[in-house]
Amino acid sequence: MTGSLLSFLARRTMAALVLVVVVSTSAYVIARLAPGDETTADFVAGVDAETIAIKRERLGLDDPLPVQVGRWFAGLIRLDLGESSYFQRPVSALVVERGINTAQLAATALVLATLIGVPIGVFTGAYPRHIVSRMVVPLSLALVACPPLVAALGLMLFAVSTGALSIAPGAVVLPAIALGLPVAAILERLQSQATADAMLAPDLVAAAARGIPPSRLVWRHAARQSLRPVLGVYGIVVGSLFSGSLAVELVTSWPGLGRLLYDAVLASDVTLVAGCAVAGAVCLAVGNLLTDVLRVMVDPRAAESN
């Protein structure tokens, strides 16, 4: 048992490492190819050419692209992600710091979204004509259709005018709701569809004919079957939540990874962009791992070849 667990973890970790390396290196290359670099802001501010030239020399910006990529890659191997030219701090320190903030928010939002979205989705999928379903589905669609910026601002407006939620800088409840509710809606929709499909499966129809009580049908059998497609996208959902959501972080001023990437793009801080890509890849890998484990827990009969 433990042996296969270890080998499974080892394979997963290898895959994750490969993903991290490939993604971050590609992000570095693309960011270098994009217009602008770390001296662009100086150029706009009117700094003279010699100072800019000195800075370019120090950062090695005029070296050919393969040389720069190689230098960055060598740093990656040593776990040294370089220094952010905008923040003047090591990238790894920045990413870890912001990553912890994001993790706190994302974990809260994820639990909220899963605990709300999945069970409700099972219900609306199994009993679509129920009065509760008829009320919940439009609400869910409203959350799906609403642009995230509008939703976040709207929630803030609501918090300010009613005073029900705190908009103080450290409060996690408001951002978690702003982040979690739309995800809950997505999970609800997917789960609902999958449950509706599962209810039509021949073995379930047969079971119903055999007289098995409907609630057990729904919550034991259909739910299990239907979790698979949801789990399929769950990894991406987890990954993107933990990489930070820009709209929510901007509006609620939550210092997370989403804002970090945004600042990096505006400052043309290529090293930081690549560092954020590393963080994003790690988050996705963690999300995939979590999903795989959940899949096994939920459906032990699943014989995944991976």
């Binding site: 433990t2 602008g36 150029f43 003047q88 920045l94 908009i167 409840v173 484990v293 827990m297």
Partner: protein, 578 residues
């Protein structure tokens, strides 16, 4: 894939841990708890709540002159002199000064008893060090430019601990006002780094706050990256008000990093902040007026801004984009466009009346530099069409768009920066107005990082852009043909046209003249030439309207940045903030 009970147990344990962590953090308000709650109730000052949109990257503004660093420097450091709201020099660390007959040598006396925040006295050695630091090669040339006259640096000579002389290499009209941007830095903290050549690494954001020493009204107490800056009053600050009460009135400033302007407004409305980063957009005045009527905020109109966004054309000689379209660089074309634009419509529609039309880069906000009698291009569609016809542009095929002599339609593109709603709206109005005289305009909004490369490569027809003015004085970067902000043809080694040459000469003259009235007259002539030649177009100067909460007393918002915190030592709170 092993389906072991071990995995299940591990997962359950992990889930419990996660839920526990979330519960704890939600209950305790998160790890980002605001530490400013325990305000000291004994003193009468109170703490100001502020929000700021960007983060400081270095507490030494000299090495990285960003807006956030400038703001921190303003609060924690002090200069020798300062220009007040009326534009007059007032003493700061320097208490008195006299000038020699020829105005080249100034003898200045430091305020007796002035100290840094760690108790050490401010001496002329610190002044000399600060000048040396500003002029050092690697310290960044923005500050150095202020201290150079005609390419030569000013020199500082200490006479004793409290008196020193400042010598200009040649006559300089601005005089000691150039010291306004020079913070006097603590030599004992920074000299070693300057000598070692790594000044930029001393006051990085991770430095211990107590190491950030300065003679300003506040000192840095805490910095949590991404979240907040905490300032406490500097007990050694030299400032006193007219009654002799020690400044600053405030006990401290709690500044939260809030990157989104709309969130700042919400916090202001909710009473969670007293001061926001910058000015209001005209669109938000209606909402803020409601808050004003409800007694929560006070709005102040500080007058027209100094930053007039410029619409300039690519006039670099030999540029490829004008090939096949010679009319694009013809002066009549630009003049016609200026006549075709109804600036009052822009004022009314985009800024809801809270702006004034601008025909040049100098506005009433620049004070005495403004010349109201310059020739302007009135809104006159007929005149615009006549000018266009005079360079051969008429509608030859009746499609509503003018064509040149070879039959090609008159069409050009304007690049603008996305993310600035009022500027984007302004240029959309311009597009519509030009359509009415038959000129087709393609608007190209680009994100900020994309514009400099297109600009540097010269691949554009026209750009609508603006830079933040940091002083009321005319800026050499724009007016001189060799300057980097000489937008239409930047960084020329020699002026491309006779009138640019004349402006160069005039600018030199006014910089070297000592008599203010004479300087204004000379500069007025330079503005006249610009208004006649129209290398670029200026459209509107929005009014600067600044909100503060009702709690704040003593705020005098100005058009420069930062509008409220520039004299933070004079701010106080109603009832001491209780």
């Amino acid at each position: 894939m092993p389906s072991s009970r071990l995995v299940r147990l591990a997962l359950v344990g992990l889930l419990l841990a996660v839920v526990g962590w979330i519960g704890w953090s939600a209950w305790s308000g998160g790890t980002t708890q605001d530490s400013g709650d325990a305000a000291d109730a004994r003193t009468s000052g109170g703490r100001l709540k502020a929000t700021y949109q960007t983060e400081p990257t270095n507490f030494l503004r000299l090495v990285a002159p960003t807006a956030a660093n400038q703001m921190v420097s303003l609060l924690t450091q002090s200069t020798l002199v300062r220009l007040n709201a009326a534009g007059e020099l007032e003493p700061r660390l320097a208490s008195t000064w006299t000038s020699s007959e020829d105005g080249l040598t100034w003898t200045m006396t430091l305020r007796p008893g002035a100290k840094f925040s760690d108790g050490s006295p401010v001496t002329t050695a610190d002044v000399a060090f600060s000048v040396r630091a500003a002029l050092a090669d690697k310290a960044g040339s923005a500050a150095a430019g202020d201290l150079r006259v005609g390419g030569q640096p000013v020199t500082v000579q200490a006479l004793d601990d409290a008196r020193f002389t400042l010598t200009f290499p040649s006559p300089h009209g601005a005089g000691i006002a150039i010291l306004e941007s020079l913070p006097i830095l603590p030599r004992h903290k920074l000299e070693a780094a300057l000598d070692a050549g790594n000044l930029a690494a001393v006051w990085v954001p991770s430095v211990a706050p107590s190491d950030v020493v300065g003679a300003g009204p506040f000192m840095l107490k805490d910095y949590v990256p991404g979240q907040r800056l905490v300032f406490d009053r500097n007990p050694h600050f030299y400032g006193r008000d007219d009654a002799g009460v020690a400044l600053p009135y405030l006990d401290g400033i709690d500044m939260t990093i809030v990157p989104e302007y709309n969130t700042e407004l919400l916090r202001l409305q909710a009473g969670e902040t007293d001061v926001i980063t910058d000015r209001l957009l005209a669109d938000d005045l209606a909402v803020m007026r409601q808050s004003e009527a409800a007694g929560r905020v006070q709005l102040t109109d500080a007058g027209p801004t100094l930053d007039v966004w410029t619409l300039w054309f690519n006039l670099k000689p030999g540029v490829t984009s004008a090939e096949g379209r010679p009319w694009l660089v013809a002066p009549e074309f630009r003049r016609a466009i200026s006549h075709a634009i109804n600036r009052q419509t822009i004022v009314d529609t985009v800024y809801l009346g809270q702006a004034i039309p601008a025909y040049g880069p100098v506005t009433p906000g620049h004070g005495a530099w403004y010349v109201p009698t310059l020739p302007i291009t009135e809104f006159d569609q007929g005149r615009a069409r006549t000018l266009l016809t005079s360079i051969g542009l008429t509608d030859r095929d009746g499609d509503g768009v003018l064509d040149d002599e070879s039959g090609k339609p008159v069409r050009f593109s304007i690049i603008t920066r996305s993310g600035q709603p009022d500027r984007e709206k302004t240029i959309t109005v311009v597009q519509e107005q030009l359509r009415q005289v038959g000129i087709a305009v393609d608007l190209v909004p680009l994100a900020a990082p994309e514009i400099p490369s297109r600009y540097a490569a010269g691949e554009f027809d026209a750009i609508y852009f603006g830079a933040r003015q940091t002083s009321r004085e005319p800026g050499a970067g724009f007016w001189r043909s060799s300057g980097p902000f000489h937008f239409w043809n930047p960084g020329q080694l020699t002026p491309a046209t006779p009138w640019e040459e004349r402006i160069d000469m005039l600018f030199q003259q006014q910089a070297a003249t000592m008599n203010p009235a004479e300087r204004h007259r000379i500069f007025a002539e330079a503005q006249q030439i610009l208004a006649e030649q129209l290398p670029a177009l200026w459209l509107v100067a929005p009014r600067v309207i600044v909100p503060v909460s009702r709690r704040v007393r003593g705020a005098t918002p100005i058009v420069l940045f930062p509008p409220v915190l520039w004299n933070a030592e004079r701010l106080s709170l109603v009832d001491g903030g209780r």
